[in-house]
């Protein structure tokens, strides 16, 4: 008697699914037992006592995705370490804490500078923003370079751009610090005039404290302006913004 192909395919799928479900008793359960034991060891090795990894789904079925509990009193660094240690056990799926929804395996957010920082660095590698002697007045010849820097920073609008002024070590330290700050602020003002919003610019001066690697602190080549793009900066509330005690 001929069997219709569709029926045969559906019957085959049902048989396969049944074999899979039944087979999980022989393959899945020993796997969970093994990773459960390894996870316990990993928790103990991470130095967190009282933390329990439950390898059960909410319906009571066994699962590769443990829920960690009992770590309410632990500090964030230990919780992070424990979750990562459990996630590192081969076979373990996503790990989460019973009192939090964050997936432990995602780890800490890595901030990567946007490509416009590379563009600006490339511009400033060949030329530098020059200032008049012992002054924060930008040299007329550097205006074109500033135009190019402003253009290169445009794709990074919305992120925070730090402008850091540096000087060489000649002259008094306090004066150098003040001069480097004034020069960074002058660049900030120049960029504002070129359409970069003030909110996204942070000017700071470090004087001669951070010379170029490999250069003597007195080397005039240390006089420079550096740009770094910070994707996000934590905002510290000023006393005026601080909410009152609960």
């Amino acid at each position: 008697m001929p069997v219709r192909p569709t029926l045969a395919i559906i019957a085959g799928a049902l048989v396969t699914a049944s074999i899979g479900a039944a087979g999980s008793r022989w393959t899945g359960d020993p796997l969970i037992d093994r990773i459960e034991a390894q996870a316990e060891q990993a928790i103990a090795a991470a130095g967190a006592s009282g933390v329990d990894a439950s390898f059960s789904s909410p319906n009571g079925f066994r699962s590769r995705h443990p829920v960690l509990s009992g770590g309410e009193r632990l500090d964030e660094a230990t919780r992070d370490r424990v979750a990562k240690a459990v996630a590192a056990v081969p076979g373990v799926g996503g790990v989460r804490w019973a009192d939090g929804t964050a997936n432990a395996e995602s780890g800490t957010l890595v901030l990567t500078p946007l490509h416009c920082q590379d563009d600006v660095e490339a511009l400033l590698r060949a030329r530098s923003i020059r200032f008049e002697e012992s002054s924060s007045k930008i040299d007329a010849g550097s205006r074109e370079l500033l135009d190019e820097v402003a253009m290169a920073l445009r794709p990074c609008l919305g992120s925070i751009i730090a402008i850091t002024g540096h000087t060489d070590a000649s002259g008094p330290k306090a004066a150098n610090l003040a001069l480097s700050r004034e020069r960074a602020e002058a660049v900030q003002r120049a960029l504002e005039l070129r359409g970069i919003p003030r909110d996204g610019l942070r000017a700071q001066g470090v004087g001669s404290n951070e010379p170029v690697e490999g250069l003597a602190p007195e080397d005039p080549a240390n006089r420079r302006i550096e740009f770094s793009v910070i994707a996000t900066v934590p905002l510290h509330p000023t006393p005026v913004d601080t909410p009152s005690a609960r």
Partner: protein, 37 residues
């Protein structure tokens, strides 16, 4: 996701791949009726 569901999904995926490969290799008639005589 429970482990039994993961294994079932894997088994069904393997079954589907097997069906597809089988059809491509042996069940798929590439010759047309006109060109086959």
């Amino acid at each position: 996701m429970p482990i039994y569901l993961e294994i079932m999904v894997l088994a069904l995926a393997a079954y589907a791949i097997g069906l597809g490969l089988g059809w491509l290799l042996w069940g798929h008639d590439t010759s047309s009726a006109e060109g086959n005589d």
